[in-house]
Homo-oligomer: 435 residues x 2
């Protein structure tokens, strides 16, 4: 019987779910898998706070460092969040010989180099399944199940809040503000939703995916990041007319001259399996050179799914504590070389462009002339509601164009008197074919 002694830092919703799970399932883990988990100490800000989950008083400590230094503890589970204290706790835990499990994507995206280096140098496990895609076994699949593969591309829906909002807008025809309010009411969005709706949370997760899928260090600031707050109901409707759905995608593609890595609202064909991932669900769609397309789908957040992934990490550590090669081997993939992330301005893509124009003769000709000047050619047009002198939407889909050219063209077009307000630019991805 293997016994793993666990120190918990933080006891919010995820910590409570983990504690409850271990209380109710420990005999299953013991009898069926030969491992007993003991939560030995729990660091909390306020030991006197009333809690819904009953825990023996002697487990609680106010001082995280005391727990990190406790020689009886094998693994530290970091659930404090943020990047300042968490960084110092994680590094300290590794240095004092502990393995570490963390759900903290911001921490790993911003301080991954330092943390993974320390884990590798000290030969400790650092596990972070719950940091990307909640309870979905994403890291395990990348690291082990698909180990035979060179990963060529990733298209991921990894922010449940944004996907919920876009699904509401698509299914119920609400506009962004309304859908956001609904998401907040349902508990899918924070009171301050900025990190979610501006794409930062998805970019954190993408940084982790890129590091281990493509094998190398990633500078977080190199990842282009655009959220969904500028998506309007009309964009979703027009996209639908062309057979597309709007999704916030985290995209990474390997190529000869570097890696594309970006988070952005995207038009995706409605028949694509990712376009059918609705509500607060997450999904990672990747392409391996041997296996072809693989999709991993599930709840990307929530206390129980997250605790499910933390427990999987703890089980990995319990059962393979003695195994060195995999841990260091896999971590080394993420630290040995530096990945070159291509600038967004060099990306080639099809585009959805939406202008609000004064409806008078020659407007389309004028705008397409400006686009042409910037080497952008048009594949599809929607122009309707012809009421002379009123402001109407004009929608153009382009053939492949360079981001840089598109930006220059839009800047020029937005200066014209016939154009009202800021124009909309959304990239179109066909995704890898699925049938």
């Amino acid at each position: 019987m293997k016994i793993l002694k666990v120190g918990l830092l933080g006891f919010g919703q995820i910590g409570s779910a983990l504690y409850t799970m271990l209380q109710s399932k420990n005999s299953y883990f013991k009898n069926e898998l030969g491992v007993r988990f003991e939560i030995t100490r729990i660091a909390v800000l306020n030991p006197k706070k009333k809690r819904t989950v009953k825990i023996p008083k002697h487990l609680l400590a106010k001082n995280a460092v005391e727990i990190i230094d406790d020689p009886a503890i094998d693994v530290i589970v970091e659930l404090v969040g943020g990047t300042r204290d968490a960084r110092s706790f994680v590094l300290k835990a590794l240095r004092s010989g502990k393995h570490v499990v963390t759900a903290n994507k911001a921490l790993l995206a911003e301080h991954g180099d330092e943390i993974f280096h320390a884990a590798q140098r000290l030969n400790r496990w650092i596990c972070f399944e719950s940091s990307v895609g909640g309870g979905i076994p994403v890291m395990k699949s990348l690291r082990e199940g698909l180990v035979a593969n060179r990963i060529d591309s990733i298209y991921a829906i990894i922010n449940g809040t944004s996907n919920y909002i876009l699904s509401e807008m698509t299914e119920k025809g609400t506009d962004f503000r309304e859908a956001l309010a609904e998401a907040q009411k349902e508990g899918y969005a924070e009171a301050d939703p900025t990190l979610d709706i501006e794409g930062v949370d998805a970019a954190h997760k993408l940084a982790i995916l890129v590091r281990f899928a493509f094998g190398g260090k990633v500078k977080f600031k190199d990842i282009y990041c655009e959220g969904i707050s500028r998506i309007r109901k009309e964009d979703i409707d027009f996209a639908e007319e062309f057979g597309y759905r709007v999704k916030l995608l985290a995209i990474a593609k390997a190529s000869q001259d570097g890696i594309e890595a970006r988070v952005q609202p995207t038009l995706l064909p409605e028949a694509h399996i990712l376009a059918n991932v609705t509500g607060a669900y997450n999904a990672v769609f990747l392409r391996g050179d041997e296996v072809g397309n693989v999709l991993l789908y599930g709840r990307g957040a929530g206390p129980k799914p997250t605790a499910s992934a933390v427990l999987a990490d703890l089980m990995d550590i319990a059962q393979r504590e003695s195994v060195r090669s995999e841990n260091s081997g896999m971590l080394m993939r993420g630290i040995r070389k530096s990945l070159r992330i291509k600038s967004i301005s060099s990306i080639l893509s099809r585009y959805y462009l939406r202008f609000h124009v004064v409806d008078k003769p020659g407007v389309l000709a004028h705008i397409s002339r400006v686009l042409g000047k910037h080497r952008i050619s048009i594949s599809d047009v929607i122009q309707r509601e012809r009421n002379l002198r009123s402001v109407v939407p004009l929608i153009l889909l382009t053939h492949d164009a360079h981001e840089k050219d598109v930006r220059n063209a839009i800047r020029e077009i937005d200066r014209q008197a016939i154009v009202r307000g800021k124009s909309q630019v959304i990239r179109i991805e066909e995704g890898a074919k699925t049938s």
Copy 2:
């Protein structure tokens, strides 16, 4: 550096893909993961046969047992197929101290008890990721990524041939025979497609899933199995009118009084993520008590995806050869107790019923009276093309009913003079909610 010496039994498409992969990627495995794989011997029926993949002559042997007995070999990869020789080779390999990797679902479905018992008793790994869902990390997710979960239900598309045929019928409006011919032309169906289209292949895989998801021995013959050969174009069209798609599903659900386990054509709501799995793709949709719904999707067959899974198994063995608890623990889940599979006649389900009836007054009333007598109530009806005396389709959807009652009712209805031909019965599943 860990070196793993591999003996291959069989050198068809999967063996060739595995050999080629190891040739081209061995330096990657060595440098990044610290493991070197050596294919030491290959057993083939005819060593003199011309092969597309070049292999040194000295690797080839006609006698599989010679390879199994070779003390220099660590792992036997069984790719001979069938259940007779394969069973004897696998048992012999375990007894001679080898770990075993196999893609053979028929073998594990029919002789799983004996083989898993032997592996457990001899403390050898037996890995079979490639036996279910090709390259998709299904077994790894069940065994490790979702280890915290009690699995409550599984809905799986695990026969690519059937899914390809149903997708063709749905998208192109072809009938079954035509779509089967197309699948054969495209290499998605064998010359003798029986095992695929009659659901046997899916039932083999379901037996493996049930064993390890629900933790216990499974009698293969207890799994109800029905294929797609009786699905007609009109069934797909009528299903669509009600908002459903027809899929061949392998279904397993846990309940107080036993486990439902069955393979059958199923009407699934078109918005369900599984209904959007098209072409030759596979997908396993499962529900865990902590994680909620998870979908794992990818290529369920083909030499490269299968070899990708075999390699993942080999890597697991290389990196955890010294780890005993997990292997035996997981295997014990599959052999310790016997699972009670419920008889199909006790299943409660909604049904799609299609009758070809002579169009005259009172037919619907008559049929619904017979159904009512058998405690079956109707929720939806399609009745059209009213040409007195001609034969027209009559479609009924039912509320929840017992399989036994439905069978009795259909038997009675099919005896009536107003009914022509054999009636169609397809179960309806709403699937677990995904948003």
